[in-house]
């Protein structure tokens, strides 16, 4: 590198410009140890870490220590200052970077006096760091008792953590003690002190205890720096906290909660995810548990879901995640408290109150013979609600509240999607006389907005699909009427001109007819295979089958062996015979 290049590199390097700032900070921090300096350190720790990272890459990219020191003349002074600051060396990442910087400056084959001197200095600093002891008397005692240093320090650290944890547990802020000065100040101080210790495994019980502290005092709680540090460690997956502490972190730190929800949504809706994987992921995320414990956490999570759903109205994957989530949430909630309509209202303040108990009752909790009437009632309630609101909308085009009410009712239905699955199953066994309300409910689930007044036309199409399937699956002769089948398949084809029916609606009807209908298995499978193959909806059909299977596996469902067997066979048919590339033997 020529001198000019070096100069240019030096001028452009951000490290050179920032160096005096950090050196000044390090000197100030080393000068006094007051609450103010400690606060300033924890405020700057994250930026310091980034700066040390930059320094390390710069040191590693430059060929010799002589050159590095030419470029960064203040480097040695800065590193030296930082090494003696316990708040910096306590923090895992900063300490790591600091040590790596020192080691990277060591020249294996020193070529001049500067490098030899630097080597000596580095070794001396490292030696002091690892072996210097402040408390001479303690060292002497430990020597007499034959206790190794590492063991001693580890014991002291654990003891301190226990003692501070105890003192936090014992202190309670109460109104009567306000004039004495409450303990929340000490909780704030403890949380601030823990900022560098977030990733220290020995400190994690203390961090957990701080997070779970009941904050009754409005004046002081946990320090912002503490919550920020926890959040960024959480993002780096660097946190060693137990379940309850993680729940408390979400309760205290909104960014961490949002991150966790978005992570769950992302991993549960990726291309490879299946309903059974989602069923595992959701409880593992701990979020349903956190929601059951803290209503405010639930409200935030539900708000995120609401926003996501508005943009993904037709995404069955997303809906499936919400349904699974609601199911898990209720399981956790029922472990904590018996549900009353009042307690549910706190969790679902925006939903139509009359629908809460009916929809949150699990189908398995109800006698099988009353399922149909229950759903007809739900359907008519929703129908009335939408008609009222949509009428109002007609008279007043800026009626946002009306829209909002319909959306909330639909959102609730999506979350309680297990009822929609019951609807489809009942449609297989119902006659034409009472399929109307059930079809309405199914159509509303798939087409919540009555944009351009399409619902009437969609209802007609849904009825047509049901009619087709009803006659297809009730024919006794084992002959497939090709024209019937063909016109059913044409229902699934996209029609740009008119409001077409969501394929998932038609498919779920088909799959349920094939599973619960009376036709022999082979014919059911053949019909399904043909429809799925010709419409190219293999993935969607697999998903519908998987969630059906999952629901039937739920405790208290009414499925028998025959049904399970049919689902397995349908699954195999779709998987093996419906590959788009494979030549179909049954092509007509």
């Amino acid at each position: 590198m020529t001198e000019l290049q070096v100069q240019q590199a030096t001028a452009h390097s951000p490290n050179v410009q920032q160096m005096p700032f950090w050196l000044e900070k390090a000197i100030a921090w080393g000068h006094t140890d007051t609450t103010h300096t400690r606060n300033d350190i924890s405020l700057h720790l994250k930026r310091l870490r980034d700066f040390l990272q930059q320094l390390l890459s710069e040191i590693s990219s430059v060929s010799s220590t002589t050159e590095t020191l030419n470029r960064l003349p203040l480097l040695g002074q800065l590193l030296g200052q930082l090494c003696w600051n316990p708040h910096v060396t306590a923090e895992g990442a900063s300490r790591g970077l600091l040590l790596q910087c020192l080691l990277a400056l060591y020249s294996e084959h020193p070529s001049n006096a500067v490098e030899r001197k630097a080597n000596q200095w580095i070794q001396k600093v490292l030696c002091h760091l690892a072996t210097d002891e402040e408390d001479g008397a303690a060292v002497g005692l430990m020597k007499h008792l034959g206790v190794p240093t590492k063991e001693y320090h580890l014991k002291v650290l654990k003891k301190m953590v226990t003692r501070i944890q105890e003192s936090i547990g014992n202190s309670r802020c109460s109104v009567s003690s306000t004039n004495k000065g409450c303990s929340c100040g000490s909780i704030w101080a403890a949380s601030e002190a823990c900022v560098p210790l977030i990733t220290c495994p020995e400190a994690s019980p203390l961090i957990g205890a701080l997070l779970q502290q009941q904050m009754t005092c409005i004046r002081e709680g946990l320090s912002e720096n503490f919550l920020d540090a926890l959040h960024s460690a959480y993002l780096r997956c660097d946190l060693l906290l137990d379940e309850q502490a993680v729940v408390s972190l979400w309760y205290q730190s909104l960014p961490s909660l949002e991150e966790a929800v978005l992570n769950l949504l992302e991993s549960a809706t990726t291309a490879g995810s299946t309903p059974s994987k989602v069923e595992e992921q959701v409880p593992k995320s701990l979020l349903p548990k956190a929601c059951a414990q803290h209503c405010s956490v639930f409200l935030v999570v539900n708000d995120i879901f609401r926003t996501v759903l508005k943009q993904n109205e037709r995404n069955e994957r997303v809906k499936n995640v919400f349904q699974t989530f609601t199911k898990c949430f209720f399981m956790e909630l029922s472990r904590l408290q018996p549900q009353t309509s009042a307690s549910l209202k706190a969790f679902f303040p925006q939903s139509p109150p009359s629908l809460l108990i009916p929809l949150f009752t699990m189908p398995s909790e109800m006698p099988q013979e009353s399922l149909k009437n229950h759903l007809i009632w739900v359907s008519s309630s929703l129908q009335r609600l939408t008609e009222e609101e949509e009428d109002e909308e007609d008279s007043d085009s800026s009626n946002i509240r009306g829209n909002h009410k319909v959306f909330e009712a639909w959102f609730l239905l999506v979350q309680c999607g297990y009822w929609v699955q019951v609807v489809v199953q009942l449609l297989v066994t119902s006659g034409p006389e009472d399929c109307g309300p059930l079809l309405w409910l199914l159509t509303f689930y798939h087409h919540p907005t009555n944009r351009w007044h399409h619902r009437a036309s969609q209802l007609v199409q849904a009825k047509a699909a049901w009619d087709h399937l009803y006659s297809l699956f009730s024919i006794e002769a084992h002959l497939l009427p090709a024209d019937h089948l063909q016109s059913f398949i044409s229902l699934l084809a996209p029609k740009p001109q008119q409001p077409s029916l969501a394929p998932s609606l038609t498919l779920s009807l088909l799959v349920n007819f094939a599973t619960f209908g009376q036709l022999p298995q082979s014919i059911s499978a053949e019909i399904t295979q043909k429809v799925v193959h010709q419409s190219g909806l293999q993935d969607e059909a697999t998903r519908v089958l998987s969630s059906l299977r999952l629901r039937l596996n739920d405790r208290g469902s009414f499925a028998n062996d025959r049904v399970h067997l049919r689902i397995e066979e349908l699954h195999n048919t779709i998987k093996n015979k419906c590959k788009p590339d494979a030549p179909s033997q049954t092509d007509t």
Binding site: G136, K143, G146, K150, M160
Partner: protein
């Protein structure tokens, strides 16, 4: 046969300890260290740990200890000839052999950078394949982390406690004392051990008191009852130390100790009375002052001790007050301030 076997075993121990001490000398003073690799260093630490083990096994056994000390003397002598700057390794040093190895290694200018990198390795820089040498890799990083974390947390511990450091030291002291008591039937030897350990504090007496208090307050196991009893007897036989402890520690800790141990309670009450009897009234200041001018015990402090003591052991109150009253009557039974220290204490306690 068994004897012969034991002798052969002892010979092996002596040889191993001798070799490890030689290894320490090399680690400290030889340029050969430059050729050491990770495996060499790990093995050196293993041998150092072996010596720690030998120490903890035999430090209470005077016969074996004597043999080992003799061996060390011989080895030290030889090593001093080879390396003039060599510091002799004592039997006590064997207990912390790894510390010594680390310290000497880090001070050797021939130490190669690869070993420094290994010792100071952090989790972030460790690659996944480095499962070997687990205990030595990153050793210094862990030490620095623990020490720094302690420094950061120390200010958070409340004042009335003895402190986490003292607590740990007290616990370790009780543990070692317990094993010394179980190994030796001669109480004099254990007493020597205790005196030699606590001698460390002669220059730092303010550190000794919290350690003794913590040792007497540990609640770990039944073995410690014997150790605590022993320590209490030792304390009573050294009145200077006892007085020092009672002067230096806060009232709350002293009251805790009195609540836990009858022996301490008696000694403490006796001492309080002694202090009171040594007080004289200074008319110029209008105050009771301890006759020995350098004593830190004030009249105020004494009443505070009494009050805290009554809080911890309520049954003590009547007994002490009766005694004080008897003394006050003996002093002439006047109800005027400044005439009888007993009367004035009583007055202060009933306030």
């Amino acid at each position: 046969m068994g004897c012969e076997c034991g002798q052969r075993h002892m010979e092996a121990v002596l040889k191993n300890v001798g070799c490890t001490v030689e290894l320490l000398a090399v680690a400290a003073h030889s340029g050969v260290v430059n050729e050491w690799d990770e495996q060499t260093v790990t093995r050196a630490f293993h041998w150092a740990r072996y010596c720690e083990h030998i120490y903890s096994r035999f430090h209470g056994n005077p016969v074996i200890r004597g043999v080992l000390e003799k061996q060390l003397q011989l080895t030290n002598h030889r090593l001093k000839e080879a390396f003039p700057e060599y510091n002799a390794v004592s039997f006590l040093d064997l207990g912390r052999c790894q510390d010594l190895l680390l310290l000497w290694l880090l001070n050797n200018s021939a130490l190669p950078i690869s070993i420094m990198k290994m010792l100071f390795e952090t989790k972030a820089s460790a690659d996944s394949t480095s499962s070997d040498y687990e205990d030595v890799r990153g050793l210094c990083n862990q030490i620095i982390q623990c020490k720094s974390a302690c420094t950061v947390l120390r200010p958070l511990l409340g004042v009335p406690s003895v402190g986490a450091d003292a607590e740990v030291q007290g616990e370790m002291l009780m543990e070692r004392l317990g094993s010394a008591l179980s190994q030796s039937s001669d109480p004099r030897r254990v007493e020597d051990f205790l005196s030699s350990v606590l001698q460390e504090f002669e220059v730092a007496a303010e550190h000794l008191c919290p350690v003794i208090a913590a040792a007497l307050l540990t609640t770990d196991s039944a073995v410690q009852t014997a150790s605590q009893d022993f320590l209490l007897d030792w304390l009573q036989s050294r009145r200077g130390v006892l007085q020092h402890v009672c002067t230096a520690l806060p009232s709350k800790v002293l009251a805790d100790l009195a609540e836990r141990h009858q022996k301490f309670r008696d000694a403490f009450c006796k001492l309080l009375k002694k202090w009171a009897s040594e007080m004289e009234y200074r008319v110029t200041e209008g105050e009771w002052v301890h006759a020995a001018t350098n004593s830190a015990v004030s009249f105020q402090k004494m009443t505070e001790h009494y009050l805290t003591l009554f809080e911890a052991c309520p049954s003590l109150r009547t007994e002490v007050e009766d005694e004080l009253n008897a003394q006050r009557i003996a002093d002439g039974d006047f109800d005027v301030r400044g005439l009888s220290v007993w009367g004035d204490i009583l007055l202060a306690l009933r306030k």
